[in-house]
C-alpha cells in the first residue's frame, strides 16, 4: 500500500477510535471535534490518491477492483463525515470510519499490476457510472452499519442507559439510516441507468439479463422495497433487517460474481477478483 493510502488508513482508524471515545464519554467535546477533523483529513488524502492516480494513468482508476475499493472507502468516509455533521449519534459514526478503514485493508488483496484500458471501458459513461455506484455503495454501506446498530440495540437493548436517552439514540440511528438511504437510492438508480446507456452503446442491449446486471437489479429492487416498507410500516426491526439484506446483495454484486455458476456467462467481468 502506498504512503498516501497508509496515511488515509491511519486517519480513518484514528477517527474511528476518537469517535468511539466520544460515544462512551459524551461530555468530552474534544473527542467529537478531533474525530471529525481527522476524518476530514483522511477523506482529503483519500481523494488526493484517486485524483493523482487518475491523472497519471490518463483514465479513471476504476478498471480494477483495487481502485474501486479505494473509491468505496472514500465514499464511505465522505457520507459518514457529512452525516456526522448533521446528526450526532453514538457508535454509528465510529463504525463507519472503521468500516472505511476496513475497506482499505481489504483492498490490498487486489493490489496488482495495472492493465491498459480495454476498448469497452473507453466510454464517457465509465467514470459517471462508477462514481454514481460507489457514492451509492458508500451511502448504503453506512445505512447497513446503522441498521446493524439498530438491530443490536433493539434486540439486545444495548446502548440505552435511560429510557429517554435510549429513545433519542434510536431516533438518531433511524435518522442516519434514512439520510444515508436517501443518498444511496438516487445514486444507485443513476448508476444502474448509466450502466444501461453504456451497455446499449457497447453491447447493443441496455439490458441483457447478464448475471451482474441481474444482481444490480436485485440490489435496486431490495433498496426500493426498503423505501416502500419504510413508508408503509412502523417496524424498525423489519426495516433494518431488509436494509441488511439489500446491503448483502450489494456486496454480493460487487464481490461475489465469481461464486456464481453463471459467472462465466457474464460479460461484465473487468473488475472481478
Amino acid at each position: 500500500m502506498s504512503f498516501v493510502l497508509s496515511l488515509t488508513l491511519a486517519m480513518y482508524v484514528m477517527s474511528g477510535m476518537l469517535s468511539l471515545a466520544h460515544s462512551v464519554r459524551r461530555r468530552v467535546r474534544l473527542f467529537r471535534v478531533s474525530a471529525l477533523a481527522v476524518l476530514a483529513v483522511g477523506v482529503v488524502v483519500n481523494l488526493l490518491w484517486v485524483m493523482t492516480r487518475w491523472q497519471s494513468a490518463g483514465f479513471p482508476p476504476f478498471a480494477e477492483l483495487y481502485g474501486c475499493l479505494v473509491l468505496l472507502a472514500l465514499c464511505v468516509g465522505v457520507v459518514s463525515l457529512s452525516l456526522e455533521l448533521l446528526v450526532d449519534v453514538r457508535f454509528v459514526g465510529a463504525l463507519s470510519s472503521l468500516a472505511a478503514a476496513g475497506v482499505l485493508v481489504f483492498s490490498v488483496r487486489y493490489l496488482g499490476e495495472t492493465r491498459p484500458l480495454p476498448p469497452a471501458l473507453q466510454s464517457p459513461y465509465f467514470a459517471p457510472h462508477v462514481l454514481s455506484y460507489f457514492i451509492a455503495y458508500g451511502a448504503l454501506s453506512v445505512a447497513g452499519l446503522a441498521s446493524l446498530v439498530l438491530l443490536v440495540a433493539r434486540l439486545f437493548g444495548v446502548g440505552a442507559p435511560s429510557a429517554d436517552e435510549g429513545r433519542r439514540f434510536l431516533e438518531g440511528v433511524e435518522a442516519w439510516i434514512d439520510r444515508s438511504a436517501q443518498i444511496g437510492l438516487p445514486f444507485l438508480t443513476l448508476g444502474l441507468i448509466l450502466g444501461g446507456f453504456w451497455a446499449q452503446a457497447a453491447y447493443t442491449d441496455y439490458w441483457s439479463w447478464d448475471p451482474k446486471e441481474v444482481w444490480a437489479l436485485i440490489t435496486w429492487l431490495l433498496v426500493v422495497a426498503w423505501f416502500h416498507l419504510r413508508m408503509s410500516s412502523r417496524r424498525p426491526v423489519l426495516h433494518a433487517a431488509l436494509m441488511l439484506v439489500a446491503v448483502a446483495a450489494l456486496y454480493f454484486t460487487l464481490l461475489g460474481m465469481g461464486l456464481l455458476p453463471t459467472a462465466e456467462q457474464s460479460v461484465h467481468t473487468y473488475t472481478q477478483p
Binding site: 473507453q122 436517501q182 453491447y203 447493443t204 444482481w215 429492487l221 416502500h228 413508508m231 455458476p261 453463471t262
Partner: protein
Amino acid sequence: MPRSNSLLRSLVELAGSIRLGVVLLVALAASSVLGTVILQSTLPGGDALSLTDRYGETTCRLFEALHLTDVFHAWWYVALMGLVALNVLCATIARFSVRLEKLGFLAAHLGVLLVLVAGAIYVRFGDKGLIVLREGETADKYFSRRDRFYHDLGFSVTLKRFRIAHYPGQMVFVGPQEGTVSVRPRAGREVSLPWADARVRFERVVEDARYLVEVLPGRPGEDAGAAHMKIETADGTAEVWRFAGEDGPAESLVTSDGRLAVLFDDERTRGGTDRVPAEPRLYLINRSTREAASVPARVDETFKLPGVDPPASGRIVAILDDADNTTLGPGLRLEIRSEGSTGLRHVFAKHPGFNPERFTALPVRSPQVRFVYYRPRVVLHLVRTPDAACVLRSHVDGAWETQTLSPNTPVEAGPVKVTLLEVLDAARVEERYEPAAEPTGLDAALLSVSADGERYDFWMATAGDGKAVKVSERLTIGYVASMHVRDYQSEVTLTDVDGASLERSVHVNRPAWHRGWQIFQEGYFPAAAGSGSQLAVSRDPGLLAAYVGLVMIAAGVFYACFIKPVIVKRKQRP
C-alpha cells in the same frame, strides 16, 4: 372519482397498495436470484449439453419444466413483472395528484411503466443480429440472434476498412534460473544480461508494422521449390507464392472468399496430384490428438467427431449456401449428438474460427475439435512435371482441365486468370518489417544480440503464437504481443435500395444509426481465423421510450430524495 365507483376505487387502491408493492418487489428480487444460480440457456455456454453435463438428465428435465434454465423469459417471471406493472399503475392512479411534492413519485412510477412498455415493444417488434465482413465485402442480410436465420436489413453494409490497434508488446529475455527480464523495445535501447553473458541492442523498432516477405533462392536439395503466380479474379488481383507440397490442414486452402484454392506441386521432388479435393467437404480436425476426418458437404451426411470422449457424432442438417452474398457467407448447419443430447452448430467456410453459438443459445461442445467447411469453387493446381514444364490443372464447374503455362503469359481458368511469374527450384523466405500507414497491431524489432562471443542480427515480431528464439543455452528471447487491444473500428459504407450511400465509422461504444438500425462494433477475428469485423445490428423501436422512462425514474428518485424533503419541511414551517 365519483362515489358510484367506490368499489372500483377500493380495488385499485388494494392492487396499488404499498405493502403489496413491497411483497412483489421482494418476490421479483428472489426470483431473479434463481436466474443467476442456475445456468441460463440464453447466455453463452448455456447450451443443452453443458446443462445436462452439470445437472444431470433428471434435474435438467425438472428445471426445464419449471423454466428455470430461462428464468427471465419464463411465463411466471413475465407474469410477476406484469403484476409489478399493475401495482405501479394502480398506485399511480390511486395516489395521482399534481402537487409539487408528488412530482418525483409521478415521474419515477410512470418511468417504470414506460420502461416495461418499451421492453415489450422490443420483444414484439425489435431484433438483433450479426453481420460478419472482411474488408471489401458487402452484406444486406443479418444473422438474427433470435431465430438464427438470415433476414433482410433493408440496406447494405460494405466494410471499407477494419482497423485494430493494440497496446505495445513486451520483449522477454528468459534465462535458466537467474531471471526473466521484460522490457518494452525502443530503438537504440541496450539491455545487458550478465547471467547469460549477453548484450542486446534494439536496432530498429516498428510498432504497427507491416510484414514484408521476400522469397529468395534457397539451398538446392534442402529447401522446397516455390512458384510465384498472379491471380486475377472479378474481386481483384493477388500475387501469391506457393511452396511445393504445402499441404497442411484443409483450412489453409480456404482463401479469402472461400472459393479459390491454390496449390503447387513439384513432381520432381514429390508426386501425388490426387490430394486436391474439388468437392465441398466438411473437415473435423482434433486439435489435441491431430486425428482428422472428413465427409462430403451434403445434407444428411453423418460423421463422428475424431478422438472425442465421450463419443460424439453429427449430421449435416442444412447447407446455407444461399447465404453466399450475405453476412457470414456459405455455411453448414450441423447437428451434434453426444450421450443422448442433441445440439446445433454452425460452421462457415470463410470464417473457420467463427462460432455464432457463443452469442446465441445453441449447444456446442468438443472445443478440441475444429470444424472446417472447405468449399472451393475453383481449384488451381500448378504442377511442375519431371521435365520442368509447368502445367496448370484447374477445376472449374465440376471438370478438370489441364493447360501448359509459360512464364508471364496469362491463361484463363474459368472466372480466374493465372499468370506464372517465377518458379524457384529451392526457395527460402526472408522477412522484414516496415511501418504501416495505419495501425496493424503488429510490433516488430530488429535485434543485435551478442552472446558467448557470437553476434546475431534478426527480426522478431509479436505475430503468431509468439515464436521464441533460443540464442544460447542460457538465453531465450520472446516477443510477446500485448493482449490488450487499444481500439478497433470498422469503416463502413451504407447503401440504400435506391443507391444512395453514406460513409460511417463504427467504434466500440460508438454505434452508427441508419434507418432505425443501430450498427455496433462488436468484435473481430484474429488474423489466424481470417481477419474480419463482427458487427452487431439492433432494431429497437422502444429504445426512445426506454431512455425517456429511465431518465424519468432517475429524475423522479432524485427529486423524491433530495427536493421533496425540502418542500415538505418548508410547508411544515409555521
